[in-house]
């Protein structure tokens, strides 16, 4: 059991956005976090990466909480934010080095991985540029390269598909698959449901700060038999309940 979120109540202020949320991500599993804008996906992610502290409940990563040992907890996480976040004054090469330093990676080995990743995402000729001046998609690729440089046990990816070209989307999915094989877990939030349906092992459907349903696609289909076959249909029927 890699990540375990249990009975978390939390949010940015005293008013909770998340109302008693529980789910888990197992080793070698890709879990999709699905929900409307404002459902609480990003808040959940911010709690998991430790930016926010839950009012109630616990978040455990391979037996450690951030309160017990923040170093051991953070060491296991690699994060790809929805909007690329970069150091304005650092070149691409320096971004990679900072990542290596932060996670205390072996220099030569990490650079070998880095060159491979850079080639995949066609960034290998831009090492001395400021990524802050890149296009959104290219910034996103920098984020992906930095995250997959690490040997993290849990990858947290916030809406990765918007702004990436189809080739990069495909490469990212291959990377995720490869890390899954090696036992890493991935928590990914997205609105691109047909991609999610094809690649995620399990889904957590968030609505209004609560976990509406959770499970594999067939489990979801069984729970909502009249909703339809695809994840898209299930998702739409789930939100309709509220609108009616």
């Amino acid at each position: 059991m890699a990540l375990e979120v249990s009975h978390v109540v939390g949010g940015y202020s005293q008013i909770p956005v998340l109302k008693d949320i529980s789910f888990d991500v197992k080793d070698g599993e890709l879990v999709g976090l699905i929900g409307l804008n404002g459902a609480g996906k990003s808040t959940t992610i911010n709690h998991v990466i430790g930016l926010l502290t839950p009012h109630k409940g616990t978040i455990t990563l391979n037996g450690v909480t951030i309160q017990q040992d923040s170093q051991a907890y953070k060491q296991q996480i690699a994060y790809i934010p929805e909007t690329p976040v970069l150091y304005q004054e650092l070149t691409l090469r320096e971004h990679l080095e900072v990542t290596m330093m932060a996670y205390d990676l072996d220099h030569d080995q990490a650079w070998a991985t880095a060159h491979e990743l850079l080639k995949t995402f066609r960034l290998d000729n831009k090492l001395d540029w400021f990524p802050a001046n890149f296009s959104k998609g290219m910034k996103q690729k920098v984020m992906i390269v930095c995250a997959f440089l690490t040997q993290a046990k849990l990858f947290i990816i916030d809406e990765p598909f918007l702004g990436l070209d189809p080739l990069a989307v495909n490469d990212l999915l291959n990377l995720i698959e490869d890390r899954k094989q090696k036992g890493a877990s991935i928590l990914m939030s997205t609105h691109v449901l047909d991609t999610a349906q094809r690649y995620c092992d399990r889904f957590v459907l968030l609505h209004d700060g609560q976990v509406k349903t959770e499970g594999t696609l067939s489990e979801l289909q069984a729970a909502l038999p009249e909703a339809g076959e695809s994840l898209n249909d299930i998702y739409l029927s789930m939100t309709k309940v509220d609108r009616a």
Partner: protein, 408 residues
Amino acid sequence: MTALFKTRLQRHLREMAKYLRLVFNDFFVFALLFLLGGLGYGYSNMLKTLKSGYWWAPVVALLVLVIVAQIGRFATLIEDADRVFLLPRERAMHAYLVAARRYSQGLAQATQVIAVFLLAPFMSVTMGWTVLSLVELGLAQIILKDALLRLDLASVYQVTGQTRMNRWEFKWLLSLIILAAGLWTLPLVAVVLALILDLAVALWTAQHWQKQQIRWREQIKLEDNRMLGIYRFFNMFTEVPMLAGTIKRRRYLDWLFKTIKPQHDHLYLYLFSRGMVRGSEFSGLVVRLTVIGMLLLYFVRGEWLPVVLVALFIYLIGFQLLPFFQQYDDVVFTHVYPVLPAQRLKSFVTLITLILSVAALLLWVVVVIANPHVLTAGITLLVEVVEVWYLARIYTPQRLARSTENRG
């Protein structure tokens, strides 16, 4: 559209008024009065020593007038979002731009009048010009400035394709020709030439603007630069939040980072050092204060005054650098990376020690050059070492720990 300009102008003036109040505080006004009085006195004394008939007198007048003619930029108050929201109203923008030019006239023309007024006694002494000629010259200067601003307005449109009509070389050349003609022949010639230019640009713009696109991007960039200049000026006196500072690669300074090996515990030193060198906000501050300190100390003689000044400047530099610690707080990875906050503080202390030591050394060298006494040099050095050590190693960590606590 004129209404839009009016609301923007009001907001702009309110903002300027806010800053001007801060700039012209009692102390500064006092200093300024003294400075102006001194300059005026010096100028009138200098005039007494001058006679008529210097060959260089018209050259000086020409230079002053040409430079002054460039002062007073076209303030459009255009904003970045305009290229999206006002794009459908591009034709209506003309009324806005005309209103903007009218507003820009105010400050620009006042500058011209004051400049000619100040130059008048010089010209009447050295060149023997009459009041009438001087008034005519002033008129020429005003019409010229009007034409130059009109040129700026015309250049908002893509009238001449990729090249702008109001490039600085072009404006300087026009001013130079017209004013030289006025100074070496009759001032009335300059008036006529300026009028011809003004009318020509006006006619040309009137004929063309309706069929042309606005250069949104360039115009926004120009306006941003204009505002940046104003904010930079205010920033010398007070804190301006709009001034984020610019970032340059400065590859020639990369050797500075060579000693910082990419190891886990050097992460923030790696980051801070690059941020400091390539960003202009804090490094500019350090350089400015150090240079001012060095200049001041070069002219200061005495046993104790240099010591006090050195101590003051090191304190100022160190104190101003403290907010740099929070520079990366809004980068999420600062919080996500598995790096202990203590490491960040340690790196920051190292950085501050380094910067202050270099500044202290530079100030010390100037003190030694200006005051070749062993005692002063020795005491200054001692005070510097103690102060740098205290500021960087004791004060900084305490202060930053407290501000982190306050943030929760």
